[in-house]
Symmetry: C2
Subunit: 427 residues, 2 copies
């Protein structure tokens, strides 16, 4: 048998269900392994081992019911938690102690999940890197803004960790750390108790080491429990690949990863996977995503800007200032254009293809911890509100992981998971 901390959540569930392991033992083994790896990875802001063990014991006493019964998990420190301080990656909130768990965390705990602690986030889920190291190569970024969650799962410290994405903060760190990152359809998971950045874009998701676990995680986070059961596909999916209008920014590694995934899909389903260009309206959607994000962010950070300007990083202050200069008329026009593009995308992903394969990041994780990498290859998909998933299918030229991103039409989360699962099992 695998070491307990190496079990996927799905595997652990089965063993817990059969009474072969206890929640207490699983949580204990996980905490021990965290102890071992944390000094080199620095994925956590805080942990409460005693509380976790106590909750696991209580779950063992109660017996199993919930979807996450006895499964330990980590939560990005941008989410309110009653039992842990919530810093949002900012010195302003170093001692902030919310009274309530964010809605998705309450749902995970009600489903039996055991929250071990909070994971490192870039400042307010934006760009300034934290202390966390890439588990594959320590002097490289794990990506951001969900840095700690991606690194913790990549280092096998925990099997499930939550994140949020406004530009690329789930998809890209998953790619950099060689794990699964799943961001469901916009609106699928409640934003209650989540520090707001850009309300038109903010979406929660999770990091795991298997597609089954990603399904399980988002099923619990959203309350859509049926999502946990990945259904086999009834017919061959219509898949295409696209490098989007930002193709110029894709490294050879990113292009090779997409081609590799397309070939794998052709092999699995014996069906052509053409490379396509996106419709013309998408030519400036990355730019529009950026403007909407910073226009909304400038408003979202009004409290911090007014009360603690000197405790915001210089980089973030600059971006807020830039965002505040975008006129409301421009912002409104951008929202309308994005809505128009959503209709075009919906038609493409209903009439022509079921799934698109696209880069998850511009390439391997860059060196250094101050920057978290370019979000360019998720901007369009996040703006469209599509479910998207990073699959760690490829290795780059220096040996670091390079993921690919799969997307499907809004609301087709279950379908996307089915395709992703088949691809991961076939690699």
């Amino acid at each position: 048998m695998k070491a307990l901390h190496e079990l996927t959540a799905t595997e652990a569930r089965a063993l817990l269900g059969q009474g072969k392991i206890s929640a207490e033992k699983l949580v204990h083994a996980t905490l021990e392994y965290i102890n071992e790896r944390e000094p080199e990875i620095e994925a956590w802001v805080c942990l409460r081992p005693d509380l976790a063990i106590q909750q696991a014991k209580e779950l063992d006493r109660q017996g199993s019911q919930g979807l996450l019964h006895g499964i330990p998990f980590g939560a990005k420190d941008i989410f309110d938690t009653r039992d842990f301080p919530t810093t949002f990656g900012s010195p302003i909130y170093a001692h902030n102690q919310p009274a309530i768990d964010a809605v998705h965390i309450a749902l995970m705990k009600a489903a039996g999940g055991v929250l071990l602690g909070k994971t490192v986030t870039a400042e307010f889920a934006t760009f300034k890197g934290g202390k966390t190291h890439n588990p594959q190569r320590h002097n490289h970024t794990p990506g951001g803004s969900s840095s700690g969650s991606a690194a913790a799962v990549g280092a096998h410290m925990v099997t499930l960790a939550t994140g949020s994405q406004t530009a690329a903060s789930v998809i890209r760190p998953a790619s950099f750390c060689g794990v699964i990152g799943f961001k469901p359809t916009f609106g699928k998971i409640s934003l209650g108790g989540v520090k707001s950045l850009s309300p038109s874009l903010d979406t929660l998701g999770c990091f795991t080491r298997s597609v089954g676990d990603a399904a399980l995680g988002v099923a619990a986070m959203s309350g859509d429990h049926a999502l946990a059961d990945i259904a086999p596909l009834k017919k061959k999916p219509r898949i295409a690949s696209t490098l989007t209008y930002d193709a110029k920014q894709a490294s050879a590694d990113a292009v090779a990863a997409v081609n590799h995934a397309a070939l794998l899909a052709e092999d699995v389903w014996q069906k052509d996977v053409p490379q396509i260009d996106l419709p013309k309206i998408f030519s400036d959607m990355s730019e529009i995503q950026g403007r909407i994000m910073w226009s909304e962010s400038a408003r979202s950070f009004t409290f911090e800007r007014e009360n603690y300007p000197e405790q915001l990083s210089q980089q973030l202050r600059g971006l807020i200032k830039q965002g505040a200069q975008i006129s409301y008329a421009q912002y409104s026009a951008d929202l309308l254009r994005a809505e128009e593009a959503r209709h075009v995308m919906h038609a493409l992903l209903t009439d022509n293809y079921d799934v698109l394969i696209s880069p998850a990041a511009v390439g391997e994780a860059p060196q250094g911890l101050t920057l978290t990498g370019d979000p360019i290859f998720s901007r369009v998909w996040t703006l469209m509100g599509l479910p998207s998933i990073t699959l760690p299918l490829f290795q780059g030229s220096t040996g670091l992981p390079v993921g690919v991103q799969l997307v499907a039409a809004r609301g087709r989360d279950a379908y996307l998971l089915s395709v992703a699962d088949a691809l991961m099992k076939a690699r």
Copy 2:
């Protein structure tokens, strides 16, 4: 000159701009009048007169810039505030002190608004009435869930107060208290720092005594400052009235109010205002709104249900239980149907009419304080995400106010305000 506390925000702005009054005097006069009326109305959860005076003095020193410079306002106690406890109308949070102002409150304060205190809300912005009395007749409900804000404005204790609406919590209390209630397009005002009830429906808005003030309030709350300037209409609006598929529940007063407003519009623009039926798809939209609301609420209150079940009212516990019994498949199907209906509504409100007139409530405010009145006549419009406004144009058979509700297409907030302003000025 009017007494200072009787000034609308727009009037006060002009006098402040001309240096004829100071923010300190305005805030002081407002607080004095609150002192006088509060014992009979009980609209406030807490007030901080000293802090408000101090902020007003500081604003006087700085001189005027912001949209709400020196304007006192109240905030529904469902919104996080750094300087006031935030109870959500629940004993669970009697001592809850957030570290951050909700985004819209930070925007209002940054625009120079002076937050006086928190206003009474029904438990978690749902149905259980608070202590507040209807200013028009004290043994009648002010409506809910934004009870304190509507009553405070109705009693002239404050000229601007904020609210939120998931079913009818702005439109209905405005009707009951004889004031303007304006709920802009869904998504217009950030929900950051707002206790989440039903994320697909929750929308913020405000109460005022003039349409100009409603425009000013939402301009500050959203950051869309151009909204503050109400533009004259360039051509005659296409207006229709409708009693919706819930017509059976409209009292004679509600029907008379709609007819009165339609006649007024015909008089103003010398143009026919036909009474129409809504397209067939709307026949079950009120029911769908209710199911979406309670399905999402059941998830939103997971933390409270798990940790403090005995401190939830029996009524709310019942509703949460009911919500939890709605299957996720039903909920998903309801969301899709609502989206379909939004397209039908958008076509109707683009191709055929600019504004619809509809009841704001079933009739006059009912007697007693335990119930806050039936939300039926806002369910459809909230679900559609339309901007809507209550105009206090009519008196019911026992002399209490009966408002009408005007709605326009999503995003046409400014247009709706122009029509509403013309009607209010013509009455």
